[in-house]
Each structure stands twice: as structure tokens, then as C-alpha cells.
Symmetry: C2
Subunit: 405 residues, 2 copies
């Protein structure tokens, strides 16, 4: 009953995949620092990422109609496609704060620019945390003074400064030719990205111009960060930016894209697995769909379904819920009699009906940290994978008092 | 800061609304019975609803691509627009059970028809419960024998037989002229109806033909059951049927529609409030939207957002989440500077920015059993209300082991 199948994620078949550095390192010429500046009681709440030399850059931002002030400013900043650094605070997202919020974001860029010896239009600003609360800009301005003296080569230091409800700091790096690609990100809740996701910063010493970076970034996130969903909610602060300082010279474009994609998918899995309260990485792969858009839609429906998510959480072989979630994609081409489904390679649905499987077998496989649900729609050749997590009481606890805590 | 506003729900302004019978009663000529036939350990798991005389009838069913066997059969049965009775079992939904499932549904209709002295094509069959498990048809056939002798006038007896995770049996009735309208329903999880919802049966002694019933039913559920969402998941068994036996003669059509609508909205609120694990009824009204479809979409986004739902659960005045949920409706016409929001009449967002309100005031109002979120988009005249509930650890508990328990 076990199916030979190819899954897109690196966790399943590490041998054929790029090797990630352990611990992660920065490309040539990148450093970071982070501090506690009093936004949180004691944890680091401010981070700066800097390139020794100005870098080509591109970014994608949230599609939410209520973008945070840093997004409004960031769209302006990115028009020139050049960055020297990125400054990020956690705890307060500077969203729904009116024109004063945009002034605060500008002041944050000015303060970081002074430290990094550049101009404010070469600094990308991000803020993450509670929505609708004024940014304590004075604390941030005061806290930035002297931070340039603390810049260091460990990306995890910066990753720590941007965390909100993440349970650990997230960074990874991998090689492509003579160059390095490093990702630093934070995620956790309010993650159903569209055009961008959470905060993710990508640094490379490969030489690529801003236009190429923009194209490559947009293509890559389509099958990685944009296929990540923790709760179907879309943050008002989502940002994914890439900086390429060129210190390693040109690289093979195809190899770069492949490595970047592997890095983004791996980071997507890390973010999904560390979703608020999550205990499992839930990967849903839909194949044989009528077209890409429908494959993506059905895969997203699976990782977003509260009933599928709680099934995974409880290791409860209530596999009919897989059909329910596929079937609620009203606009998609679905033919019950051609629909097959597998959980971690064990077939649980054949021709639209539940297979008479051993409950205990499926129960055991659902207890694995990574749960792969694969659905074949049997109506075409398109394929997509979505990344999510189980739904637990921990998610409720974290979110029922996020503002107050 | 308190806003004078009109909410569509009868809970808010009972004086201007139809009066519901307490306890609920049946219209002339309708009766029901329920029994334990061994599908559940001891609770009632089988119900029959019958009209003394054949009735005009209409029904709407789930749009899920994997409809249960009873839906496949029901679509065929309803073509003639005539019903004598309805038979429903709980515990097993007879979904994803292949052609054998449809045979079982037919046998259930035949067995009920024998009891009600009619033919199988005058019986609507419903099943609700776990997906993908064969229907224990022998138990149901044996259990139906003699049930006609137990038919009685209390709709709550039938309501009890169709419950799954509902915490109480749901029935209501109200008068229109000389006629009565009675609703019996079950809900709880997997409720984000489209074209139909959960199991809801409507009985009336008003004289209306099948075609009129079909029109009226479809129009009414658009603003009631189809605006209900517990978890965004769409059941494979959703059914809403209406039977009109005519024993009270003709009624004013406008008055009938108004009464039916009031009954359906009230039942929608009862189902939302009794969503799995729910502690609050969450009503989201969107006004001044560009058009009806966008008003509905934004209202649904609010009641479906896990972050809004957990905010209500925790009585946490994290009102930026309201903007997040509105803002993720990418396709809708939203202008931040024109967006206003209120919680139970207290303004919390003005012109797209958070109002500097007293936390404790909003915290107190969020503790009320019914939480009304109203959003004015300021871009048009359309209005819609969606009905949902908070998201609690109770939902997780119920759904992490539904199959196994």
C-alpha cells in the first residue's frame, strides 16, 4: 500500500538536495546586530542587517488593504532597487497608526542610516507585532545609537531580534558556486501570504542586478512562501526582501534559482512547523490537477482546513475530511471517482471512497512530526505543494491574549 | 462613542421582531419520533419527521464535490417536489462510501416509506456523522420498525435524534397569519455553508406549491444559513429542506417570507452560538460596501478569521485584527481612510486607524455572550451580516478525536 512518490520538500529526500550550512553563516560583506531597546521587557526587539557595500535589492510586500506604515515607506524605498541595510523592530507593527506611523517609519530609517553611514532611502524598515499601537520611536532611535559597533557575522543574532511568537530564531544558508545565500525569517501566526509573507530577508554575495532579483524573487516565492499558511490570515506587515552585494561575482543563474528555491522551501517548512502552537509540519501535495491554479487552491484548502488540521493534531484517521476539504473547492475540476489520497504514502482514499485501511497504521503515521497528505485529482498534470501545520489548543492560548500579554 | 445602529439579528431588538413560540410546536399535521437504534451507545440516533398528508417540498444541498450518498439520492427525490416524510440518522454520514452507500440510502427510504405508508420517492433521507464509514443499514432498518406508532407533536424529540456534537436539541416555531413555521436543525462543526447548510428542516401548514417553496427557500437562506460559518469547512451532507402541507390554507406571501427569514436567522444564530467549543455568538455586519457580494465576502472574512475569533474568545481588545481581516479581502473595494469599525456599538477604528479607546471598556463588551462587530467600508450602500462564533480549545478537543470517540 506504500506509494513511491516524489515530494518537493527537502526534508523527505535530503540526499538529492542542496546541503545547508550548520550553523548558518552570512555571505561575504553582510553582518547584523540586535538589541533590547525596551519594547519588550528583556528579549531582543531591534535588529539591523547591513552590507559593507551597497547592494542591489528587491522586495515583495503584503497585499493586505491595510499595509503597515513600514510597507508604505518600503514600497517607496524599493523603487530604486538599492539597499545598504535593513532595520526591524518586533513587539509593535506600526500598522493602523495613520500618517504619524509613516513619520515614525521614516525616522527609523534615518536613525539606522546614520549608523550605517548611508542615506535613509537605502534602508528598508520593517516592524512586526501588535497592530494599532503607536511605535515607541524614541526608544528605537535611542536604541539604535552605537549598534554599528556590534555588527557581527552570525545571522542568528539578527534572527533573534525579529522574533514575535516564534519559538526559536530562524536562519539558514547554502552555497551556490562561489556565492552564499542566507535567509533570516520570522513567522508564526497570521500567515497566509499572498505576494509576500511574514518577514523574510535574503542575503547573497552573488552579483545580480535589481531587475533580475525582482524576477527571481517573485518566481521563487510562488512555490515557497506563498504556499505557506498557518491560519489563513494575512498579515499587514508581510515583507520578503533580497539583497545581493555582488562580492562573490556572477553566478550561474539557473543554479542560483535552484539554490534560492531550496532555501525558500526549507525556510517555509521551518516557519510552518513553528506555526503558533504547532506540533506537526503538514505538507499537502496535489497532483494531476487541471491546472496550476487549481492545484494550488486545493493544496491550500487542505492545509487551511481546521478539520484536517485537528485530524493531524489528534492523529485521528478521520480521512473523509481530506475529501471534504478537496470537495469544498467549488470552482475546481474534481471528479470523485478519479480522486486518490495518501497519508505519508499510505493510500487512504481510492476512487473517491475511503480505503478499508488499518486504523492503527494510519494513526501511527499521523504521529510523525511531518505529515504528508497527497491527493491525486486524476484530471490533468498540474502539481502544487502547500505548507501548514496542525491546529492545537496552543494556537488558541497564544492568540486569545496576544495584545494583553 | 456608542453608535445607534440597526442590526439584522432578532436577539438585539426583539420588540420589532416576530415572537417565537416557547416551547416550539409543529404546524398542523406534522409529527416526529426518534429512537436509539444502536449507532450511538445510548443517545437517540434516528429521527423521522412526517406529515399526515403529502406536502409540497423543496430542498437545497451542499455544493461540496463529494456529496454524501443521501444527497445523491435526495437530488433525485426532490425532482418531484413532493414529500411525505424525512428520515435522518446521526453518527454516520454515509459519505465516501461508493455505490453501496447509495444503495443503503435507498434502503433507508424504503424502510421509512413502509412506516409512513407512502413510497420511497416521497421520503427525503439524511445522514450526519463520520465520513467514510459504511452505514449500518441493518440496524437502521430494524430500528425503523414500529416508529410510526411513536410519532408525536413535539419537534424537540426529532431534533434530539439528529444531533452530533450539538450541545442541545434545536427547534423553533413562529406564526404567520393562521399558519405556523417550524424549524428543526443540527449544526456544530464543518459549517461554512454554500447553497445549503448543516441539516435544517422547515415545516409549515401554509399552502405553497413546490416552485414557490424553492424560490422562497433559496432567497431566504442567502441571508441566513449561507451566512453562517463555524470553521470555514463545508460539510458533505449539508441539507436544508422545506415541507408545506397546506392544512392552514393560503397565507400572505410577503408575510410568510418575512416570518421564514426571521426563523432562519434565529436558527442561524442558535447554530453559530452552539458551534463546536463556542462560548460567544460572533455577528459581523458590513455596511456601506461597494456591492452585496463584497459585503458578504468581508463579513464572512471577519467571522472566519482565526485571529478575530480568538480575540473574541480572549476578550482581548486587539482590534487591529479587524482591519487585518477586512484588508485580506484583496478583491474587494476597501479604502483604509474611509473604514470605520465598532464592537457592540463602541467605535474602535476611525478612518482606518485604531481609536484611542479605553481597553477595559472594550474588554468588558467583548465578554458579552453576543459580540457584534460592525464595519463601515464607506464606499457604497450594500450591507450583509455573517454569523459565527469564537475559536476555543474546546473546538480543538472535539475535533482532534472525533472519529475515535
Amino acid at each position: 500500500m506504500l506509494r513511491q512518490t516524489y515530494f518537493s520538500g527537502p526534508l523527505r529526500d535530503p540526499s538529492s538536495r542542496p546541503v545547508f550550512d550548520s550553523p548558518p553563516v552570512f555571505p561575504r560583506g553582510f553582518r547584523c546586530a540586535s538589541r533590547n531597546v525596551g519594547l519588550k521587557p528583556s528579549a531582543r526587539d531591534l535588529a539591523v542587517f547591513a552590507s559593507d557595500v551597497e547592494a542591489a535589492a528587491a522586495a515583495v510586500f503584503t497585499r493586505n488593504h491595510f499595509p503597515g506604515a513600514p510597507i508604505v515607506l518600503g514600497r517607496e524605498t524599493m523603487r530604486e532597487g538599492r539597499l545598504k541595510g535593513i532595520v526591524v523592530n518586533s513587539k509593535c507593527s506600526n500598522v493602523a497608526t495613520g500618517t504619524r506611523g509613516v513619520d515614525h517609519a521614516r525616522r527609523m530609517a534615518v536613525a539606522a542610516a546614520a549608523e550605517l553611514e548611508t542615506t535613509a532611502n537605502r534602508i528598508l524598515v520593517s516592524s512586526t507585532g501588535v497592530i494599532g499601537v503607536p511605535l515607541p520611536i524614541e526608544k528605537i532611535e535611542a536604541g539604535l545609537v552605537g549598534i554599528a559597533g556590534e555588527l557581527q557575522a552570525n545571522p542568528l543574532i539578527g534572527a533573534e531580534g525579529i522574533m514575535t511568537t516564534d519559538t526559536y530564531a530562524k536562519a539558514l544558508s547554502l552555497r551556490v558556486g562561489d556565492a552564499t545565500i542566507t535567509l533570516v525569517a520570522k513567522g508564526s501566526g497570521m500567515i497566509e501570504p499572498n505576494m509576500a509573507t511574514m518577514l523574510a530577508y535574503i542575503f547573497t554575495d552573488a552579483a545580480l542586478d535589481a531587475r533580475a532579483l525582482d524576477q527571481i524573487l517573485r518566481a521563487t516565492i510562488e512555490s515557497s512562501f506563498n504556499m505557506l499558511s498557518v491560519d489563513g490570515d494575512t498579515s499587514t506587515s508581510d515583507t520578503c526582501a533580497i539583497m545581493a552585494n555582488g562580492l562573490a561575482g556572477p553566478v550561474d543563474r539557473g543554479a542560483f534559482i535552484e539554490a534560492l528555491n531550496a532555501g525558500c522551501v526549507r525556510m517555509t517548512e521551518m516557519l510552518a512547523r513553528d506555526g503558533e502552537g504547532a506540533e506537526h509540519l503538514l505538507r499537502a501535495t496535489v497532483c494531476d490537477a487541471a491546472n496550476d491554479s487549481e492545484a494550488r487552491m486545493v493544496a491550500k484548502a487542505l492545509v487551511n482546513s481546521p478539520l484536517v488540521k485537528t485530524m493531524v493534531h489528534g492523529a485521528d484517521p478521520n480521512v473523509g475530511r481530506i475529501l471534504m476539504a478537496v470537495g469544498k473547492c467549488f470552482e475546481c475540476h474534481v471528479e470523485p471517482a478519479r480522486t486518490q489520497a495518501w497519508i505519508n504514502g499510505h493510500q487512504v482514499v481510492r476512487d473517491g471512497a475511503r480505503v478499508d485501511f488499518e486504523d492503527d497504521l494510519v494513526r501511527r503515521t499521523l504521529r510523525q512530526e511531518t505529515v504528508d497528505i497527497e491527493v491525486s485529482l486524476g484530471v490533468g498534470n498540474a502539481r502544487a505543494t502547500a505548507y501548514g501545520c496542525d491546529l492545537t489548543a496552543g494556537y488558541i492560548e497564544e492568540n486569545a491574549a496576544y495584545y494583553s500579554s
